[in-house]
């Protein structure tokens, strides 16, 4: 402003000098110089004035704006307070809900784990019962399938033994019978010798009868004897025939005996063979089933304590509920800090007497104190709150 004033004074002086020159000196060169300096100065002044006028309008405008800003700040802060209040309320509600949900879920899970544990214990007891039971079965009086199959196998072996023994005895009987038949043959030989004797006797008696006839009356008595001897020889031959017939009948009976002994001795072994094969298959099958059962039972016995371990681990892991609750509580504290800020913001337009400036300063100090409190709380919490592994405390 002062520069412009001095510039105006200077331009006036220069204009005066131009007039003086025009009236008295008439120097063209001086006129030219003075005129050019004057015009330059005027141009500079014009631009200066423009600038100054601009700043002046700006300042005027600024005065009206600052009046508007106070209202704006109020409304912005009001909106801000509304917004924070709403958000904080939602967060608080959600936190509360989460807390309840987690607590409920943890109670449920914990109960189900305990139930699982009791069930697994029950199962273990049943398995032990099963093990001891199957052991008893084996020790019992042939109650198990295994011992039954072994017994059956033994019975079959005994049966085979009986069959073979019968065959052997029958064959021995057969050989004795054959010997007997041979004896019969020698009896036949003896009989034919006897027959020879009889026919010779017959011949001899015939000769004696002829000789007696030739002797005439003297040989009459002798003829009677010869006749008697002859009839004796005939009787002897008949007896021989009878004996032969009897022995032949005996031979026929022996042939029948041979047949029945043959039937007795010849048992077909095919069915026995099949039965034995089935028995062998059955044995291996039963053995397999037994082994499988034993191994399954053993595996179950191993699995049961594992279930108990897993359940204990799960129950121990439920400590996270405790930690989560701590986190949620500290979050609630943070939310209450936000509430404090929000409360301060709420007092903002209730005090129209107090200047905006002062109110802002008050807000700032409140913010700072809340910030420090929160920071302190956070640092103490980070010390307190450790991770799950470190907090491995058996709760049960």
């Amino acid at each position: 402003m002062i520069n412009i004033r001095y510039g105006l004074y200077l331009s006036c002086a220069l204009a005066l000098l131009v007039v003086v020159n025009y009236l008295f000196i008439h120097q063209e060169i001086l006129f030219l110089i003075l005129f050019s300096v004057l015009s330059g100065l005027l141009i500079t002044l014009a631009s200066q004035i423009h600038k100054v006028s601009l700043t002046i309008t700006d300042t005027a405008k600024g005065d009206t704006m600052s009046a508007v800003d106070d209202e704006l700040i109020h409304s912005v802060i009001f909106e801000l307070q509304q917004f924070i209040h709403q958000e904080v309320n939602i967060v608080e509600k959600e936190l509360q809900r989460t807390k309840v949900l987690v607590a409920d879920a943890v109670t449920g899970i914990s109960d189900s784990f305990k139930h699982l544990q009791s069930l697994s214990e029950e199962q273990q007891q049943m398995i032990q019962l099963l093990i001891s039971h199957s052991g008893n079965m084996e020790d019992g009086e042939g109650a198990s399938l295994h011992s039954f199959v072994i017994d059956s196998n033994k019975t079959l072996d005994d049966f085979v033994g009986v069959i073979i023994n019968t065959s052997k005895q029958s064959l021995e009987t057969m050989s004795y019978t054959d010997d007997m038949v041979a004896q019969f043959d020698s009896i036949f030989k003896l009989l034919s010798q006897v027959e020879g004797l009889a026919s010779q006797t017959n011949l001899l008696a015939l000769n004696a009868a002829i000789e007696a006839a030739r002797a005439g009356e003297a040989g009459r008595g002798f003829a009677v004897v010869a006749n008697e001897v002859r009839s004796l020889s005939v009787g002897s031959t008949e007896l021989n025939e009878d004996i032969r017939a009897e022995i032949n009948q005996a031979k026929e009976i022996i042939a029948k005996l041979r047949n029945s002994v043959e039937t007795m001795a010849s048992a077909d072994m095919t069915s026995t063979l099949e039965a034995k094969e089935k028995m062998t298959v059955m044995m291996s099958h039963v053995e397999q089933v037994n082994n499988q059962t034993t191994s399954s039972v053993e595996e179950l016995a191993i699995i049961a304590p594992k279930i108990t371990d897993a359940v204990s681990l799960g129950i121990r892991s439920l400590q996270f509920e405790d930690l989560t609750r701590q986190s949620l509580e500290s979050l609630q504290m943070n939310v209450s800090s936000l509430h404090e800020i929000s409360d301060v913001l709420a007092t903002f337009d209730k005090n129209p007497n107090m200047a905006v400036h002062q109110q802002l300063i008050k807000l700032k100090t409140t913010c700072q104190s809340v910030y420090h409190e929160t920071k302190k709380a956070e640092s103490s919490r980070s010390v307190k709150q450790l991770n799950m592994d470190e907090g491995e405390v058996d709760l049960f």
Partner: protein, 101 residues
Amino acid sequence: MTVSSKLSTDGKQLVIAIDERFDFSSHQEFRDAYSGVTNLDLTYILDLRKTEYMDSSALGMILLLKDHVQLYAGQLIISKPSDTVRKILEIAQFQRLMTIE
């Protein structure tokens, strides 16, 4: 002839060979094959390579042969039975009484 027997030249082995069927019908021949042999310390070889069928009387005959062999302090070997015959012999537990090869 369903049964044939042959004494080895050194007189230490008696080979009795049986045909396809070994049953009651051959018992006389079978008995005749060894009953006359009374050599001490003889090895009896029952050759069953041709035999396909065998019933319990055959097992009885083998047992009688075994008795005969024991009576004369000999040794009985059953030679090359077929699978079926071997199974029958095993059911009868003959492997405990004599050598089956």
